[in-house]
Subunit: 528 residues, 2 copies
Amino acid sequence: MFSEGGMSRRSFIERLGGVGGTALVLAGMSALGFGIEAQAYEPPALSGGTKGKKIIVLGSGVAGLTSAYELAAAGYDVTVLEARNRVGGRSYTARKGTQLTELGGEAQTCTFDAGHYINPGPWRIPYHHSGYLHYAKKFGVGVELFNNENDHSYINFERGSGPLKGKPVRKQEIAADIRGYATEMLAKQVKQGALDAEFSPGDKELFLDYLRGEGYLTPKDLKYEGVDGRGFIENPGAGLKPGPGVESKPHALTDILHSNTWRTVRSVAGWEQQRTMFQPIGGMDQLPAGFMRNMKPKVLLEHVVDKISQTPDSVTVAYTTAKGQKGAMTADYIVCTIPLSVLRGIDMQVSPTFKEAIGGVSYALVGKIGIQMKTRFWEDNHQMYGGHIYVDDPMIATISMPSTGWLGQKGVVLGYYGQGANAARVSAMTHKDRLELALAAGQKVFPEYRENAESAFSIAWHRVPFNMGGWAQWNEEGRAKYYPTLTEPDGRIYLAGEHLSYLTGWQEGGIESAWQQIEKIHKRVHAA
Amino acid sequence: MFSEGGMSRRSFIERLGGVGGTALVLAGMSALGFGIEAQAYEPPALSGGTKGKKIIVLGSGVAGLTSAYELAAAGYDVTVLEARNRVGGRSYTARKGTQLTELGGEAQTCTFDAGHYINPGPWRIPYHHSGYLHYAKKFGVGVELFNNENDHSYINFERGSGPLKGKPVRKQEIAADIRGYATEMLAKQVKQGALDAEFSPGDKELFLDYLRGEGYLTPKDLKYEGVDGRGFIENPGAGLKPGPGVESKPHALTDILHSNTWRTVRSVAGWEQQRTMFQPIGGMDQLPAGFMRNMKPKVLLEHVVDKISQTPDSVTVAYTTAKGQKGAMTADYIVCTIPLSVLRGIDMQVSPTFKEAIGGVSYALVGKIGIQMKTRFWEDNHQMYGGHIYVDDPMIATISMPSTGWLGQKGVVLGYYGQGANAARVSAMTHKDRLELALAAGQKVFPEYRENAESAFSIAWHRVPFNMGGWAQWNEEGRAKYYPTLTEPDGRIYLAGEHLSYLTGWQEGGIESAWQQIEKIHKRVHAA
Ligand SMILES: Cc1cc2nc3c(=O)[nH]c(=O)nc-3n(C[C@H](O)[C@H](O)[C@H](O)COP(=O)(O)OP(=O)(O)OC[C@H]3O[C@@H](n4cnc5c(N)ncnc54)[C@H](O)[C@@H]3O)c2cc1C
Ligand SMILES: Cc1cc2nc3c(=O)[nH]c(=O)nc-3n(C[C@H](O)[C@H](O)[C@H](O)COP(=O)(O)OP(=O)(O)OC[C@H]3O[C@@H](n4cnc5c(N)ncnc54)[C@H](O)[C@@H]3O)c2cc1C
């Protein structure tokens, strides 16, 4: 039961009742009873006053902004301390003039044309991130679709063997063919009676019908001979030529198997990914900007928190400003959204158990590079509109085409999105070498790649000050041993952020975690 | 070979050579040689002057507008005659104030709120419609993604049996489960050696790996036990509750089979459909509007063509204006884009063979209804962002949620999209009864449906003046016997339109057919 933050199943049904009458309640019930919940978590209602309490929020990523916004809306006296010269934390967009110096790295200034950008951190939102969408709706932050699975995009795998090795093939060819062959094989077995034990009466014929449809098998012989959806040699068109076009022929099963391209084919997208997702129009920094347009609390930028101490009655935060000035601030509670990767280096008056727990999680090594291209050759010449190109060099992993600026002149491509040890290797390179790595990989898929590249912006999150990592990566032991500790306050200190959720690596985790923690504070204020 | 209009394979390679150097040519070659062409058809180059020729274009749908635009750009003296009081033909958008009276039907005026609309005809564009996208790019008509396959949308099938009958289930549940079971069954057979004959050496293990991945099978036992991508009973979130959430359990295979829901699961989308498509921002009438902003030719609205006659030297078109005035106009050639369903009723001086061919095709019976909803309950309560709901009442077929206006207040839902005899039955109803039909169907899926409906606009294309049908539906006999005749001119009369393509039912067919026909005229002018 979701009882502490967000919305319990109970309150979801109550809300339906309140808004839409009985029919709606029944629908909610049936959705619940039936398996998949039609579920939207919402901010906690912090009603009943604040007893004049003062709260400091540390960090202004989505977790900090959510905490500050909701607490201030409830009437609390809220101040936000943020180390950087901007709000948003990882929810961030690099555009003309954006500066970044990684720890121990060269200074970098983004030189994209006006209107072009890359989201170096978060870039896509699934439909079930109801907290994110709630604030986007509330603040009028426009969203647009993000094409997260483009069947017409290329796979370019080099580590297999056979004729498909190192050749860009369209994802749709592979999906159609391997599923075609698989359904054909299965249909043969089913027909022969090999699986009769699996079927209830009447099921067998229905199952054969399913296979026929799924794999586009020939109606009678149940053979796979290709399908229009895998693409044409020459597209159908007008008149007599091209007229019906020229159909393409399936790849051989053995060629597909040895190419490894089948690794991209899954029955459904994973929970965290959908084929079609969302992105804020204009860049990921637009939601933080939406918060700021609607925020009452004071947000103090370039205030780096050095130390957190507490007494039974209050909590004190010491900071250093950009100009090197030291200061301190005292409040009743703090909500600390500083990533654990950074927090573990901050002097903090908490129990040893709590302190140990803060150190009990590792952070993702992850890097991205945005490359501005002077034409949208992937659209003009390859009819690829958004989506990811899959390559099997793990330093590159995917090359992604923008899902914005359709049919325009230029565009910013995501040149790599490597993780783990491979990201570490890339991050040890100069920006120039990172670009070279990306260009060499892209050139293997698009002959137009290198000659179109105009400028680039690269980031290695594990080397970024005030983040020191992409996102929290809890292992099973950490979840059991440390995570529960951190979800409860230590004295007057409450932690929030993506790291305190099962949605790590997602903004939604930061938002929902903030909701839970501020609700706890509010209950405590009222219990006192 | 695409030799008459659009672009031949040869000229495609030449173009690559011209733009991007040798590398690009090689890429084009490799794409061609490899199976799936990276193909973009383009307008013909009508160079070398016009010898002062005059051309009349009949109709201002995309075929007429394309013809007129390109011919005028080449220097021809072009006039367009259009029966309606607007351009665009089927490329049309209903919004506040749009009026429609079907043949023998009641007058209807659209009363949607400002900014809301339905595209009663064309509404989505696949990536390979390069002609459409060419003009959108050229005229700066913005496009946005159209979510054509939303895994989180509902299937609500009532004609099967068992516990899933008449229950809205998410598409992703069905796809995950049936593919899970199918891969499990196949893996079992493969493991037992039943299919060894199908595999080349080394293939079997790779194929098992594929099945494991595709179906999310347990690594060792190769069992399907569900997958996160099918949805949760309670979504994962922050803290300890919901924390990891509550996983959902697969439906029983027999229940899926008897529900018929598996009919929605196909290995890949068909050629004409992709999971993610495009739509013009603001409505389908935006491309015609883009043409008009850039058109030189005179477009005469409310000029209904009654008669077409010709001599060896000229062609004459007689028309009646809205005010009942008769007139006539003579030119060197005409491009006639009037749908064959209408043209067969027009007095036309052509050969008997040509005349017979015009009557040799039937037109789709098809209807739609747009319903303005006062809240976006499908987004707010059901987390369904765009996509289609599949129902098995063929009078409804699909209910589609808008892929625009995300997170806004209101939205226009497509309440049905029936075809054939079922569309005929619906079209015999009053607008009020059509709406009632749609509301009753929608209410079965969304308890909020009826109470949210504010206003509606319905259309039955076979009853629409100047169209008399949705699109040409050639059968095999017609394609062989009549279609070739119509692709060639009769004297000075050239036909163009979606009906003269293998892309019937798509604007692209109209555009590419126009390209072919105007190129023929231009060659004739120069041959003379
Ligand atoms: C490469 C990458 C891709 C991602 N993709 C997605 C995605 O597609 N979708 C998605 O939703 N999420 C994605 N995420 C995850 C998402 O970015 C995070 O989950 C979310 O932004 C975390 O928000 P937060 O508020 O918890 O932390 P942060 O945004 O990191 O905020 C912490 C704040 O604390 C500040 N701070 C740090 N130290 C101090 C200090 N000493 N004093 C004062 N302030 C301090 C920081 O400057 C920062 O503003 C991605 C992340 C990365 C790195
Ligand atoms: C319900 C529906 C859904 C569709 N979905 C899609 C889709 O998703 N995507 C897509 O690309 N396409 C779709 N189409 C198909 C698309 O609408 C057509 O293929 C295309 O618009 C045809 O263009 P056209 O120029 O050939 O004909 P039209 O647009 O019909 O143009 C013919 C013109 O001739 C005029 N005319 C008729 N009679 C006379 C006369 N006597 N005198 C003068 N003028 C006359 C008409 O008023 C009209 O303007 C759909 C069509 C329908 C009906």
